[in-house]
Symmetry: none
Subunit: 377 residues, 2 copies
């Protein structure tokens, strides 16, 4: 199985982040040979036949997730100014749902983003604003019930004009938390996603955003800056729609890789007991145990967390790191980091609150958990 440039030309195996289990030793040596026998180091090696043949015989490698966080989390120094640690936007929040976009947006801030915006409907905005004065909430989306048929075109134009003023400022957007399924609203959001893509803004897609893209796969097809974060049911629907198949119990990693390949390499984080992450070339997992409490809202923390870490990982990869690391996929790094941080915070919250643990409690532990992995000083 291919890994993303995890060791350098001199073969320093300690940098080999993805394949850490002893069962992968043979494959690691083979990969090393492939690399040193002429494959361009900075270009991403394709997932070869030989590697695939190994897939069924080896376990999916566990990511060195805490190591990823330590690498990509920016150093806080006195020269930094507002916005440099991340400007995140959430597209979500409608008449029905307000908690989900709040959880995503506040999680992004608690991890260390400087600014967190929410673009939602008018009904949702008042409520989301009331949850926290830390968020910037834009009441600009509309649902079918609030507009007349003959206004649709004008309203769409107005919404897109408004959001375009903001979009290019963001390091990452999250589409879906509390979005709802109103057809008019989803149409507008499709346009927003297309525009974000033109601007090369990484886009995390969760919840009703996944409902949208499952039925309009072109929105993420061939977009290497898209991350899909499906839970069990959402993944099942994606598989049915895209691969026309049911969930494989035998080789879930290869199935995930194929799904990602089929949609042209968008990254997929398949949530579950262990999170599996693939970008059509690599498959890795994060299986550190989180919490047995399965209260609703944890997926919203994850999408906010992945958004922040993805924007940090992009800076890390694009900055003056050794060229050997430039082939790392920042979206994979963002998923790995987001996954482990949620799991650690959930563990800490459960140790404190037990069965009464709610999403708000987990969010309160994001800071301590990050500090434990990667101290700010």
């Amino acid at each position: 199985m291919k890994i993303n440039g995890g060791f350098d030309v001199a073969g320093r195996i300690e940098k080999y982040m993805w394949l850490s289990s002893p069962s992968c030793a043979v494959l690691r040596r083979q990969l090393f040979l492939i690399r040193t026998l002429g494959a361009s180091y900075t270009s991403r090696t394709s997932y070869s036949q030989m590697e695939r043949a190994h897939c069924s015989s080896i376990s999916t490698p566990e990511a060195d997730a805490e190591g990823v966080i330590r690498r990509i989390t920016p150093v806080l120094d006195r020269t930094r100014y507002k916005g440099q640690a991340g400007r995140i936007a959430i597209i979500g929040g409608c008449r029905e749902y307000t908690g989900a976009p709040y959880f995503t947006a506040i999680s992004a801030l608690k991890i260390g983003a400087d600014l967190s915006h929410v673009f939602c409907t008018k009904d949702a905005a008042t409520v989301i604003k009331s949850y926290s004065p830390e968020l910037i909430v834009h009441p600009i989306l509309e649902e079918s019930y609030s507009i007349r048929e003959d206004e649709r075109e004008t309203v769409t134009y107005k919404i897109l004009t408004e959001i375009r003023k903001w979009l290019e400022r963001f390091d990452c957007i999250v589409v879906g938390p509390g979005l709802g399924r109103d057809p008019f609203l989803l149409n507008c959001v499709s346009d927003i996603m297309r525009h974000a893509r033109q601007l090369n803004i990484p886009t995390v897609i969760d919840a009703d955003g996944l409902f949208l893209v499952t039925n309009n796969i072109d929105l993420v097809k061939d977009n290497s800056l898209a991350v899909l974060t499906p839970n069990k049911m959402e993944y099942k629907r994606l598989l049915e729609k895209i691969l026309n198949s049911d969930v494989s119990e035998d080789n879930p990693s290869e199935q995930l890789r194929l799904l990602s390949q089929k949609i042209g390499g968008a990254t997929i984080l398949r949530k579950g007991k262990e999170d599996l992450i693939s970008d059509a070339e690599t498959v890795t997992k994060v299986s550190t145990f989180g919490s047995p409490r399965r209260c609703g809202g944890q997926g919203d923390i994850l999408s906010g967390s992945v958004a922040v870490f993805t924007s940090w990982a992009r800076n890390y990869v694009m900055s003056s790191m050794p060229s050997s690391e430039k082939s790392l996929n920042p979206l994979i790094l963002g998923c790995v980091a987001g996954s482990i941080l949620l799991r650690k915070a959930a563990t800490a919250a459960f140790a404190s609150k037990k069965r009464a643990t709610l999403t708000t409690d987990i969010i309160e532990f994001l800071g301590d958990s990050l500090e434990e992995i990667c101290p700010a000083d």
Copy 2:
């Protein structure tokens, strides 16, 4: 007095959960004889004449309430996914009342339910949402003042269509907290209750929900999945309406049993200094002292608590337990567990806050109180 399959065929008395006081020793032996002399063990024994004759001479048995909690509370293990620990819905919240449905819904989450929904009016929704991002609040009910006479039919149809999409997902619903008494709204809620009954969803009825069913007893008649939780005045009104009598001081247990029998076996939890619980066949009590502070809202905690424990008790009874326990009525178990947990949390909150104790303080102790009885690890 009959108990719900509390000891097995071999007569293991330690499983006999309901009758624990020494004064019941004679009756216990009689019941054991009745059982072993041919009554079907797994079918629920009726409350015989002989047992009733004893009622006036013995005190109502105290439930081993903490034991019930320990039995029915699900083990938290790593394989569980969102929703498995309970999806609860509250039907309530109108222009006038917003606190009550919030208390019920958040209590359900704090005890361990995974998802808690509130179905209320538009006016109430914004406020209830703003109390907590953890709840999913649906602004779909309407009151008379907000709709025209000629719209009623269409609006009713729309409300029912919307709620039917959700109803089958819930493990238990609570009807009444903050519901108000608007006739149009109550008509809609009657239809929702009928639909929940068709779907075999346990339904806890409190507050204005009791006003509704007291005047429309068919809504709960012969519904073995209904739980009524009247306070002193609500119970008095029920008695007047159904049994045409005043509250009995001499034999409150038998009167409660008769009331339950008259409405066909719906479970009744009569709240008071001691909570009495009956399903027409058994009567049991929970009398552990709670708190001398009688601030409004404690009944809302109870209804949410009963809802969660009832859904857990149903899973417990329907799961692969020894057949000797399959005759247990999960609604009785849910009431017993809900009653003791509220009492313990109220005690803890009062010890901490004294006269300043409010419902919110009690809710904050639900987790610790449950942990004390039934540790999560």
